[in-house]
């Protein structure tokens, strides 16, 4: 009885997957096509003359490796710091009842509503004065990017993690306390591992956020050629009208791959991770 229904469902699933993946295929294809085939009035969905030219072109952007490292550094620092802070905050917002709790939760939504573009000027001056005290976190240093991305990814991370913390039974905490575990130990040795799937899910979102940023990078990293990040470097190929399509596609592929690899590695955990949020 059930079989034919499932077969149809599976065929539909594979078709949908193909449609969704097609633009990505097209991106990779354009990246390996020779220049004259990219802009052609008779586009073909394959190429017989694959070339690495576009990747070579994208990779020979001065300091590409350095920019890649910078981007990874910023994203990883944001993810790690963000997880720690969001975990603590989410625990506080689930395990404790206090008067301003709802207000805080709503505030976490409100700060996400402000258009970031509107905040660049105040943030610029803020970073300028932070730089006077702690140069590594001021203008023209990657630390400034870590700070802003941390601030912008926290509200969402806290919302997500709240559900995961809530899913951990309170009895567990009581048992641990009875066993003589300190609150600190409970937090890091019991609760933290239990919400790990949620941390993974949240970290992916923070990672993408910091990884793809262009706005703050171009506002804060003004002077100095070795502190740029990847999106800034790829901008070299984007001209107002006349784009170097092949190099853009190769660059985009290079931008997407690290995130995709990260995704695939954590996929199982991601899905079970996001499941935790249900119980919020």
């Amino acid at each position: 009885m059930k079989r034919p229904g499932r077969t149809i469902a599976e065929i539909v699933t594979v078709l949908v997957a193909a449609v969704v993946a097609f633009p990505l295929y097209w991106m990779v294809l354009a990246a390996v096509k020779p220049a004259d085939e990219i802009v052609s009035t008779n586009p073909r969905p394959w190429t017989l003359r694959p070339t690495a030219d576009n990747f070579v072109h994208a990779l020979t952007v001065q300091n590409f490796g350095r920019y890649l490292l910078n981007s990874v550094l910023v994203a990883v620092l944001v993810v790690v710091a963000g997880l720690l802070l969001a975990f603590l905050a989410a625990t506080a917002l689930t395990r404790f009842r206090f008067r301003s709790r709802t207000t805080l939760l709503v505030m976490l939504l409100v700060v996400q509503m402000v258009p970031v573009e509107a905040l660049t000027v105040p943030l610029f001056f803020l970073m300028k004065s932070v730089g006077d005290v702690a140069p590594a976190f001021g203008l023209n240093h990657l630390g400034s990017l870590v700070l802003v991305h941390l601030a912008f990814s926290l509200p969402f991370a806290i919302w997500m993690l709240r559900g995961f913390v809530a899913a951990v039974p309170v009895e567990l905490e009581e048992a641990a306390t009875l066993d003589g575990a300190s609150r600190f130990r409970f937090l890091w040795q019991v609760l933290f591992p239990l919400v790990a799937p949620g941390l993974v899910a949240t970290s992916v979102l923070s990672f993408i956020h910091a990884w793809n940023d262009f706005l703050f990078a171009k506002t804060f990293l003004i002077s100095g050629s070795d502190i740029q990040t990847l999106p800034l470097a790829l901008q070299a190929f984007v001209k107002p009208d006349q784009n170097d399509w092949g190099a853009i596609m190769a660059g985009s592929t290079l931008m997407t791959i690290p995130v995709l690899v990260f995704f695939v590695l954590v996929q199982r955990r991601l899905v079970s991770g996001l499941a935790g949020a249900v119980k919020g």
């Binding site: 499932r6 469902a9 599976e10 699933t13 949908v16 969704v20 993946a21 633009p23 990505l24 097209w26 991106m27 990219i38 052609s40 009035t41 008779n42 586009p43 969905p45 802070l85 905050a89 506080a92 709802t102 939760l105 709503v106 939504l109 700060v111 509503m113 258009p115 573009e117 509107a118 905040l119 660049t120 000027v121 105040p122 001056f125 803020l126 601030a151 926290l154 509200p155 969402f156 559900g163 990884w211 793809n212 999106p231 596609m249 660059g251 985009s252 931008m255 997407t256 995709l260 995704f263 996929q267 991601l270 899905v271 996001l274 499941a275 935790g276 949020a277 249900v278 119980k279 919020g280």
Partner: protein, 292 residues
């Protein structure tokens, strides 16, 4: 104790978001251009002048209406596609499901600029595959058809791209949610003789509510503030600005023109609007028994 856990977060948010937002509101009350920013001209307090200028601009209202409509379509489309595929994913075996998830994660991971560029490229009037295929199957009028010229085709194309890159978040979240529903609950309902649609409506849906709340609010916030896709795909807001949405409008009228005071007032208006929409949404949920 709660405060100790919250302290670092509050410090970061107060310093890096609270203070700039406070500045934003202040700036919106001043004539604040590049001259003022770099200290080459005195500040000029305008009171509500920027707001007055904004609200009396006819184009602002057109753009606002377009933004609301466009965001509504994107949110509805994203939720619909995401939910449908999440349900579909629970009905199939591991291999097709993994394929679907891989494709979806790929779409999700693609940087917005890159995603927009690829879609634009696929739908290019002369070099695009879509027109090639359409004219190949007999629709000769589609050869050289410009998708980005007409207001509605352009909006439609961008909406499709937005849905493409944002449905994975909804799908993955809801799939996980459905998976987390204990099998016994559904089985019990089935034993009671409830139909599939009835199970979906009165058993699964209520359990998914908290998740739906999060994905809906997040989608509204993200889609209302859409920038990159419109900016890249309609070349900065379409022919004569007929594809402008609020954030692109703010960028062109205010930020690119260094009119930060006006830009800040648009930012404040956007925030207030989004807040209003969210509050209404929460009210509706509350009436049906939902609490934050």
């Amino acid at each position: 104790m709660a405060f100790a856990y919250l302290a670092p977060t509050l410090l970061v948010l107060a310093g890096l978001l609270g203070y700039p937002i406070y500045q934003l509101v202040l700036i919106s009350l001043y004539d604040y251009n590049q001259e003022q920013v770099s200290g080459n001209a005195p500040l000029n307090f305008l009171g509500l002048g920027n707001y007055q200028k904004l609200l009396s601009d006819k184009q602002f209202w057109t753009v606002l209406a377009q933004t609301v409509g466009f965001a509504a379509v994107c949110v509805a489309g994203t939720l619909l596609v995401g939910t449908a595929l999440a349900v579909l994913a629970t009905r199939v075996r591991a291999v097709p499901r993994t394929l679907l998830f891989l494709a979806a994660l790929g779409a999700w991971a693609t940087p917005a600029v890159a995603g927009s560029t690829i879609w634009l490229f696929l739908f290019d009037a002369n070099f695009g595959l879509v027109n090639e295929v359409l004219s190949g199957i007999g629709l000769h009028g589609m050869a050289g058809f410009s998708w980005t010229y007409g207001q509605w085709t352009a909006f439609g194309l961008v909406a499709a791209q937005v849905i493409w890159c944002s449905f994975p978040f909804v799908m993955v979240t809801l799939y996980a949610g459905i998976r987390a529903i204990p099998g016994e609950v559904v089985e019990a309902a089935a034993l009671d003789g409830a139909s599939t649609t009835r199970i979906a409506r009165s058993v699964i849906l209520p359990l998914l509510r908290p998740l739906l709340l999060v994905v809906t609010i997040q989608s509204i916030i993200w889609d209302f503030k859409i920038f990159t896709q419109i900016y890249v795909m309609t070349n900065g807001g379409g022919i004569a600005g007929r594809n402008l949405v609020l954030n692109v409008y703010a960028y062109q009228q205010a930020f690119a023109a260094s009119e930060y005071g006006l830009g800040a007032s648009i930012g404040v208006v956007t925030t207030v609007l989004l807040l209003a929409i969210t509050v209404v949404y929460l009210r509706v949920l509350k009436r049906s028994g939902e609490v934050l």
